[in-house]
């Protein structure tokens, strides 16, 4: 690809992403531009904009221009703030993001309180959480996971960028209580057999404590 051809492609990608109403995947950009290989152009643009007031970012495998974070204070005023999430919603969102895919019962087991349907609805309405299937256990509960929009909204390249996720996983804090209990009491050290992400929790046997008691 010659210098000027790249330049033209860079200009085309730049114009496309500026005009786009939604973040676009490299594939979508390529399709829009008639099948060109756009990654070199994206890289060139990202570099070009790295220190400007506007930056080209890739979150959740989608590209978009957005203002530089250090200018937030200039832009925030007079601007509608994103809807503030309730504490319950932020907790549920974190649980879904760090444990996905996760069923409602699993969310409730972690929070120790029943999660109203409304909380998940709010997250789904925001476009951050969606139903991704059913767990193949009795009752076939629906399971939830985060969306690319979630990653984009929170400036995450992928779920691996979730703050502290590696540490939490290494500490076994993303494993179900039962697993952690087994690991502790069976004498084996919890850390050694830990590395695999336990993102396929077993059937949820853990009933919130208070309910256990009332069931007695």
């Amino acid at each position: 690809m010659s210098e000027s051809e790249l330049d033209e492609l860079v200009r085309a990608v730049e114009a496309t992403l500026f005009a786009a109403e939604e973040p676009m995947s490299a594939e979508a950009i390529a399709t829009h531009l008639g099948g060109a290989e756009v990654r070199p152009a994206l890289k060139a643009l990202q570099e070009h904009y790295a220190k400007r007031g506007v930056r080209l970012v890739e979150y959740g495998k989608r590209w978009q221009f957005q203002t530089a974070p250090d200018l937030a204070h200039l832009l925030r005023r007079e601007r509608e703030q994103p809807r503030k999430l309730s504490r319950a919603a932020t907790e549920v969102l974190a649980i879904v993001a760090y444990h996905e895919p996760v069923s409602r019962a699993e969310i409730e087991a972690i929070r120790g309180v029943q999660t109203s349907g409304g909380t998940l609805d709010v997250l789904m309405e925001a476009g951050w959480v969606r139903v991704v299937g059913r767990r193949e256990v009795p009752g076939r509960p629906v399971i939830y996971a985060t969306t690319p929009e979630f990653l984009i909204h929170f400036s995450l390249e992928s779920r691996r960028d979730l703050p502290g996720i590696d540490e939490l996983r290494a500490a076994g804090l993303l494993d179900p209580v039962d697993d952690a209990y087994e690991a502790l009491t069976s004498g084996g050290s919890a850390e050694t057999d830990e590395p695999e992400p336990a993102d396929e929790p077993e059937e949820d046997e853990f009933v919130p404590l208070a309910h256990e008691e009332s069931g007695d």
Binding site: A94, L173, L209
Partner: protein, 267 residues
């Protein structure tokens, strides 16, 4: 995390020194916060956090005492507490008493196991609480970073690109022709008895006898199914026509039964 830090020995836990024994005004603050809590685990976690200690090394016993004390205080203040809080308080009281009993008198699951599970749960909830806070602290679209305010938008208009080749075209025309032409042959193939010939045949056969004859006896011999059906229909109409002209009379014993006809003598 080490096993020693997790395993709870009641006596050891008791011996732990708490940096901040909850003072009275701290407790007052607790109940003011009540609206913010969602459930017993929440309150327990918050109590643990107020100790500013690692959840791995909290004393379940100390936590139990504080929780129960808190609930009692709230009740004294006539605060309406959700049933879950009270159930948890009762459960914790039971757990505490069990933990204080000699080990050999304990049933399964042991109070240690229950306490450890409770602690593991609090750790997990605490981890998620913290993760949620860190997540909310990231650069968020619409708060810290902003997308283009007035994007022109990309529009893709779909256009159908119809496909058809020469053979399909010619073949289609051939099929239209097949549909409209060769069928003519099929009609010529078909043997039918016309009404005229049926009338002729029936009236001439009626002239032979004065007895009742069944309609089927008038049909021409032959095994062609379609010709027989045509002949039957035509002969039936012929019989009706002859009856209308007063040259024959018809008789049928029952519905769908055999039809008989007989000549009427010309007067």
């Amino acid at each position: 995390m080490s096993e020693e830090a997790i395993a709870i020995d009641p006596s050891e836990a008791e011996a732990e020194s708490w940096d901040l024994p909850a003072p009275a005004n701290d407790a007052d603050a607790l109940y003011l916060d009540l609206d913010g809590w969602e459930g017993p685990l929440d309150l327990l976690l918050d109590l643990a956090r107020r100790q500013k200690v690692d959840l791995k090394s909290i004393s379940i016993l100390a936590l139990v005492d504080q929780y129960i004390a808190y609930i009692e205080r709230a009740e004294a203040l006539k605060l309406e507490l959700a049933a879950d809080y009270l159930v948890m308080a009762a459960w914790l009281a039971y757990l505490k008493s069990a933990m204080l009993l000699p080990k050999d008198e304990q049933e399964d699951p042991s109070p240690e196991e229950l306490a450890l599970r409770l602690q593991l749960r609090l750790q997990r909830l605490g981890a998620m609480r913290e993760a949620a806070a860190r997540l909310m602290g990231r650069d968020r679209v619409g708060r810290d970073v902003f997308v283009r305010g007035a994007p022109e938008g990309l529009r893709v208009d779909r256009k159908n690109l119809w496909q058809c080749d020469w053979f399909e075209l010619v073949q289609a025309y051939g099929q239209v022709k097949i549909r409209t032409q060769p069928v003519v042959h099929m009609v010529r193939d078909r043997m039918v008895m016309t009404l005229d010939s049926a009338i002729e045949r029936v009236s001439s056969m009626l002239g032979v006898t004065l007895d009742w004859m069944e309609l089927r006896d008038f049909l021409p011999p032959g095994s062609d199914r379609r010709l027989r059906r045509s002949a039957l229909a035509s002969s039936f109409v012929a019989a009706l026509e002859l009856a209308r002209l007063g040259r024959a009379e018809l008789r049928q014993e029952e519905t769908f039964g055999p039809m008989h006809l007989r000549r009427i003598k010309a007067s």
